[in-house]
């Protein structure tokens, strides 16, 4: 994002603050700002989530379509990320103004979800070689207050957690063509297994230290930030006890911004990223499971942008 204009002494103040592990709003370098999450608020999508992290506001919707698997990977489904920077966020995004940022985030998400250890595309297969589900994950950025990547990954994971795929009742083979019969019952559907879905952690290098969850002001003080995608821990998302402790692996690492880093900083930062990602994953799982429990008890009413 085009940086905020800051004066040299404001930047200095922020840099000194990071050095001192005490930021302008009282957080330490490893603290996140409070977030708010809601799922299932877009009726036209199969799964959706809205995340608000301080001023950053996102809406993610998952739409499912039936597609033909690629010939190289006949037993895998497809997932596609698409980011749209709404001009509501800033007038700079008007027209095609937000495209560069949008493509950057979409590519990052695509890379993070590439490995089957991050997201198993086999669960989207309907009929090997013929039919599979294609998930369109549409991310709409409504307001920017720093730390977009982390927020996007959290909202995407929540939206996927909320996604219900209709059950296939029957597959009819008519010559070479496949005819699917989907269940009409809206409650007859399956949930996706998203426990391992990766979360992105942005480590913003300010001065000599790295901070998580940078605000827009902090982002403009930094010349380079490191984005790590770390796979989730499925045991957080499930009641089953005997799940193998997997996850916590890097699914993508990328550098952003015009600066460079020393190898040691990079090594420290990725370790810091793992710690942060595990905490994020736990908090997200807790929130999602709570919400699901709440919805079972009471009839869900969507808050959305009201209230």
């Amino acid at each position: 994002m085009a940086g905020l204009l800051l004066s040299q002494s404001e930047k200095l103040f922020i840099v000194h603050g990071v050095q001192d592990d005490y930021r302008s709003d009282g957080r330490s370098n490893l603290d996140y700002r409070p977030m708010e999450l809601e799922t299932d608020l877009v009726d036209t999508a199969t799964g959706s989530a809205r995340l608000r992290l301080a001023n950053t506001d996102l809406l993610v919707a998952v739409k499912t379509e039936i597609d033909v698997p690629s010939p190289d990977k006949p037993d895998l489904g497809k997932i596609e990320f698409n980011v749209d920077c709404s001009a509501n966020a800033t007038p700079q995004f008007e027209g095609r103004g937000g495209d560069q940022l949008a493509v950057g985030i979409a590519n990052l998400m695509q890379a993070a979800y590439q490995s089957s250890q991050a997201f198993n595309l086999k669960q989207l297969c309907i009929f090997e070689g013929k039919q599979c589900w294609k998930l369109f994950v549409d991310i709409l950025i409504l307001e920017c207050g720093g730390n977009l990547c982390d927020a996007v990954s959290l909202a995407v994971k929540a939206a996927l957690f909320n996604t219900r795929i209709p059950c296939v009742k029957a597959i009819l083979m008519d010559g070479g063509d496949v005819d699917l019969q989907l269940s009409d019952d809206p409650f007859d559907n399956k949930l996706l297994d998203v426990g391992t879905a990766p979360l992105l952690v942005t480590l913003c290098k300010i001065g000599d230290k790295c901070v998580v969850d940078p605000s827009a002001e902090e982002e403009s003080c930094s010349v380079v930030s490191l984005i790590v995608g770390i796979t989730g821990t499925p045991s957080c998302y499930s009641d089953q006890e005997n799940l193998a402790e997997v996850g916590g692996k890097f699914s993508t690492i990328d550098m952003n911004g015009p600066g460079s880093v020393a190898p040691k900083t990079l090594k420290d930062a990725i370790n810091q990223g793992i710690v942060a990602a595990k905490l994020l994953d736990k908090a997200l799982a807790k929130a999602l499971i709570n919400e699901r429990k709440e919805n079972i008890r009471t009839k869900k009413s969507s808050y959305g942008f009201l209230k």
């Binding site: 809406l59 008007e94 369109f136």
Partner: protein
């Protein structure tokens, strides 16, 4: 004549409404902190977010000496419709919508107050279930009010259609997507109900001259009804932000 099936034998519409009944309207002003004004509006299942930036300094190339530049962008989220859209904006339809939006709002904004400035109005349709344009106009009006930009009166848009009941014409207000798709006439009116001025009229499909007035007056009635609802919300919003220490009244 299309549309005999738009009304049931009991005189109810496909979604159970009466012909002159609006869909449920819910809204909120000031949803975001960064824009100068913002609003969220739901009309039935059509959901729209609007944000207003400005008035701020206009770019040199656009700047007008005697009035404000109003800049609108209408955009539909890719997931807003049943079928996924490929592009949120830039296609012909949304460009046309942006133009219509601008036209309707320009009629109300007191443009002469802000020379060399610019007002940006951005509308994001999150869910479209018929009447997305109307909801956008209404949401934009609320966002303008939230931003404290002077307007002559509420700009309200509403649609109306025509159905047949026992051989008699029966106009329908606030057309939903299903009714739109059924192929009847859809008349869109953007007006300032309190002054009676009309900013924009658009109609699709064919309608006999004789029935135009009835359909139009039903749409206008719809606008008036919506205005009452929105006015109430605006007042509530003002009251909510009211604190006692406010020294506003200095008589």
């Amino acid at each position: 004549m299309p549309g005999p099936d738009l009304l049931s034998s009991q005189g109810l519409r496909l979604d159970g409404r009466r012909p002159n009944e609006l869909r449920r309207i819910q809204c909120k002003l000031g949803v975001f902190t960064q824009p100068d004004g913002s609003a969220y509006l739901e009309q039935g299942n059509t959901k729209v977010l609007a944000a207003v930036y400005g008035p701020h300094q206009a770019a040199k190339s656009k700047s007008l000496q005697d009035s404000v530049v109003v800049n609108c962008q209408y955009s539909m989220a890719t997931f807003s419709t049943g079928e996924r859209k490929n592009r949120p904006r830039g296609d012909r339809k949304s460009q046309e919508m942006s133009m219509h939006l601008r036209q309707a709002l320009m009629a109300a904004i007191k443009t002469e107050l802000y020379p060399r400035s610019q007002i940006d109005i951005y509308v994001e349709v999150l869910q479209a279930d018929g009447g997305a344009y109307c909801t956008s106009v209404n949401a934009a009006t609320l966002a303008l009010i939230d931003a404290g930009i002077p307007i002559k009166a509420y700009v309200i848009a509403c649609t109306a259609s025509l159905a047949w009941k026992d051989g008699e014409p029966e106009p329908l207000v606030d057309v939903s997507h299903v009714e739109e798709a059924a192929g009847g006439v859809v008349l869109t009116v953007a007006s300032m109900p309190s002054t009676g001025a009309i900013g924009l009229i658009e109609m699709s499909h064919r309608l006999h001259m004789d029935y135009f007035d009835t359909v139009l007056s039903r749409a206008m009635q719809g606008c008036k009804d919506i205005e009452v609802i929105l006015d109430k919300v605006v007042r509530e919003h003002l009251a909510e932000g009211w604190t006692k220490s406010d020294d506003a009244i200095t008589i």
